[in-house]
Symmetry: C2
Subunit: 516 residues, 2 copies
């Protein structure tokens, strides 16, 4: 007899990640020093893993606005916008955002996640929604909660999009939905072509500008402004937890559409409204975004410095043209080890592993704030270089040349950078299927061999810990015994690995970071 909870007790990833020391999640921040540095486990680290692009979460004017709102309206609205949760402040923010975004109407919603869920309210049974495969999870869920037919196109593949549009029922209502800036790899959607296709096939267009509002375009209105295609983009969405120093989201577009969503979206009418403090923070941030374009300029300068800084060392930052700067590592466990070395060296960045990226394409995602100092940025670069060399992600000496990045500055029209062939072209299989022969092993130095074997042990531990009953059934009855002992397996393999290293008198992991 099975139990809904079985899947939870059978899940091993967490335990094994903790046991191997490669657990990169839910790190607890004890204090913040101007948002660019935070304290973790009593140590001060540089934060390059935040979406606080303009650094406004630490701005005294934003804090002051939040505090005043708490004093005037309390700590909560105790209800939904529809009923008792609408303050004049909510309406003020909506009016100002509509004006800022050049839209008839704007609707603010309690979280960015719920803002994308609200899309579901206009997706009827006779509609078709065309969606990029790498769109944010909240868009995926918003589309699942709607009743439209879903057609997914390959990431940023406008030819595939056109095939799907051409094959669709001509009379159906159609909408193309895409992230403006893709959050993990920092690349832009191909809005110019998407808009052309939308005209040709009579479809509406919506962009998720969570990572571009406040950041891209002359005025900071995001990807549609950047491409000069605001009139052609029917709906735009943004979140307040990135550039707006708050929590919440906005959906903007024609009055009739926004008004319909306002009254019909379940994530709006059945959820308590944004708190007074969050509304006031977003309002003040909007004022600063409009008044201080120099923040955007500084942020893009920083993005250029970091992309080129990493590339000069031999790292690959992929196709990104934005302050989201992915540093390509490749294999998942190696990525976790890279993350751990960064963590121990005082740099807070985030590992991104499959399924958020393709297998073999694991990366360290860095993202920057307009308020980072050059000294902080140089420390980050220096740390990456040391770890990258030690872990053989980059060569011992800097390459003689590298491809300089282009940044999506206002008016530049830049859409993409060149990634290395390995990054851009290699299939997931090619990158993931690595190993070595006994012959290769015999020619290794003991230090090299230790490293390789450590990798292999970690790999195996990880895989063994994640075996599923279905995987084992494929191996036939012989594996049943193994399966029964799966609980001890990870530990045993780890133990063997540990003995190996003790004999070799070294630990290829963290402690070396301090010696470097």
């Amino acid at each position: 007899m099975s139990d809904v909870f079985d899947k939870c007790s059978n899940w091993k990833d967490f335990r094994i990640a903790k046991a191997t020391g490669l657990y990169p999640y839910f790190r607890s921040i004890e204090a913040s020093h101007g948002a660019t540095e935070v304290e973790i486990e009593g140590r001060r680290v540089i934060m390059v893993g935040s979406n606080n692009y303009l650094g406004l979460s630490a701005d005294p004017r934003v804090r002051e606005a939040a505090i005043k709102a708490v004093e005037k309206f309390g700590t909560t609205c105790s209800g939904s916008r529809l009923l008792n949760g609408t303050l004049a402040l909510h309406e003020e923010l909506e009016t100002k955002l509509a004006k800022f975004l050049n839209r008839e109407s704007a609707l603010v919603i309690s979280t960015g996640f719920q803002t994308n869920l609200a899309l579901s309210s206009i997706l009827g049974r006779h509609d078709i929604v065309f969606t990029d495969r790498q769109n944010h999870a909240s868009l995926v869920d918003g589309i699942r909660l709607g009743f439209a037919t879903e057609r997914k196109f390959r990431h940023n593949d406008v030819d595939h999009l056109e095939q799907l549009l051409a094959a669709a029922e001509p009379d159906a209502g159609k909408i193309i939905v895409t992230d403006g800036v893709f959050s993990m790899e920092g690349d832009l959607c191909n809005l110019p072509r998407i808009v052309e296709l939308a005209k040709k096939y009579n479809a509406r267009v919506m962009t998720d500008d969570a990572h571009s509002m406040g950041v891209l375009g002359e005025k900071g209105r995001g990807v549609p402004e950047y491409f000069g295609l605001e009139a052609e983009t029917d709906l735009v969405m943004g979140t307040f937890s990135k550039s707006f120093a708050s929590l919440g989201g906005v959906l903007a577009g024609p009055f009739e559409v926004i008004n319909y969503i306002r009254h019909k979206a379940r994530s709006v009418i059945f959820s308590a409204s944004m708190t007074p403090a969050s509304i006031a923070s977003a309002l003040k941030a909007l004022e600063i975004i409009e008044a201080e374009p120099e923040r955007r300029a500084r942020l893009l300068d920083i993005a250029e410095k970091m992309h080129n800084g990493f590339r000069a060392m031999g790292f690959d930052t992929g196709v990104s043209v934005t302050p989201v700067v992915p540093v390509h590592i490749g294999e998942q466990v190696k990525c976790f080890r890279f993350w751990k070395a960064l963590h121990e060296a005082g740099v807070f960045a985030n590992p991104v592993i499959p399924p958020a990226v393709e297998a073999g394409h694991a990366l360290i995602r860095t993202s920057f704030m307009a308020t980072h100092t050059d000294a902080q940025l140089d420390r980050v670069l220096d740390t990456f270089e040391k770890i990258g060399r030690r872990m053989e992600v980059i060569p011992e000496t800097r390459p003689t040349s590298y491809e300089k990045v282009q940044i999506a500055r206002p008016g530049s029209g830049v859409r993409s950078n060149k990634a290395s062939d390995k990054w851009a072209a290699a299939s997931a299989g090619e990158l993931a299927a690595k190993g070595f022969t006994l012959d290769q092993l015999s020619r290794m130095s003991s230090r090299e061999m230790a490293g390789k074997l450590f990798d292999a042990v970690e790999h195996l531990t990880w895989r063994a810990a994640n075996l599923q009953p279905a995987d084992l059934r494929k191996l036939g009855g012989a594996s049943l015994k193994l399966w029964e002992k799966r609980g001890e397996l990870g530990g045993k393999i780890l133990e063997k690995g540990a003995h190996f290293f003790m004999r070799n008198g070294q630990d290829s992991n963290g402690s070396q970071a301090e010696r470097n």
Copy 2:
């Protein structure tokens, strides 16, 4: 060729509600006076339409905690719990909530809505979820986002639940999900029977205690504590926008299950975390909830006073045993008119209409705070009585006797009150199908006739405005002309109605409220 946006431009409810003056939503609050009174359109009104049960949103200690958190941590965490959005404060709240709720583990999530969506992560393809038809929208959506088979049972009908359990695949994983207190009508789930059935059929149980945490049970732990069935309830959920003076939610249960949800739920890992101010407010509110049981006692005293106060006048407050006090009106347009009269008389309450309740069962939902004064409550009762008599919801003189309510006080075991036969038994059809014959009309006084005709005009206006093409197709080709002119229809009928009243020299609506 159709357009995704067509449904928005075709939607008429909003325009007609605005035109008739019967638009009760998104009322903008300009200022708050200790949460029990607020300013709307420059007027001060009594708030009995909030979920701020303990009145803590205005508590100076809670405000102080929120302000300190803004000073120390800024206005946002700029990322998800998983990556850069976990503060030591989040962990402190989780530890304290787990202790408070007697659970191994607790997980705090950015909104109550997203807390229920997180349930989806444990609903696998081979599971079956049994859900009350009147569960909150966020549970409905959480279940839709999961992959389990859904079995809906009739509201609070445990016999129907047992039929569904008995008919289900015995080997499937099973979970029964129910609101603890149903938010619109204030009734309790039948947790004792649900727990018995869960044991018999090997199912897990989850309660949504949004409206009972902080309110019911000796210690305020909600419906499972109230029934003495905490050990038998596997997962409990609560929101911070009600008793906790904040925004967010909590899911608590066994460590392995909560830990799995923490790492797998999309509404957790892909959404920015609760703001420092919201975490600090909830922490302080929890401290007060534990330290000041007198707030709960006062709230339940108020609930008793209001239920019995309304009943003494002849109103029906249904089966509620909680501080959610529904006042039964019946027909939807009448309910809107009742709402409007309350609004004009300075009482903020909310109309609840189909589909949130059954057709013919529209009600005014009132809900109370521990901080309401007796003088405020008496003003509310007085206002309801005047309007109720004028609108013939209650008789001109008080009934000689009425059924006293029982309130769900700790240890009482009370689960339900007696509703009037009309409220409890009449089918939606019986209540909705009202009208009068020419013969009846001829015997009416002119005042009575005016009232009846006004009702009919409003009714007709509302219905005409909401006609759908499919409705009209049923009427055959003759109605096409009418359909083409539907835009003008509401206005014309209203105009006729207005002429009628002018001739009779009275306005049965708002202005009379001031004369009374």
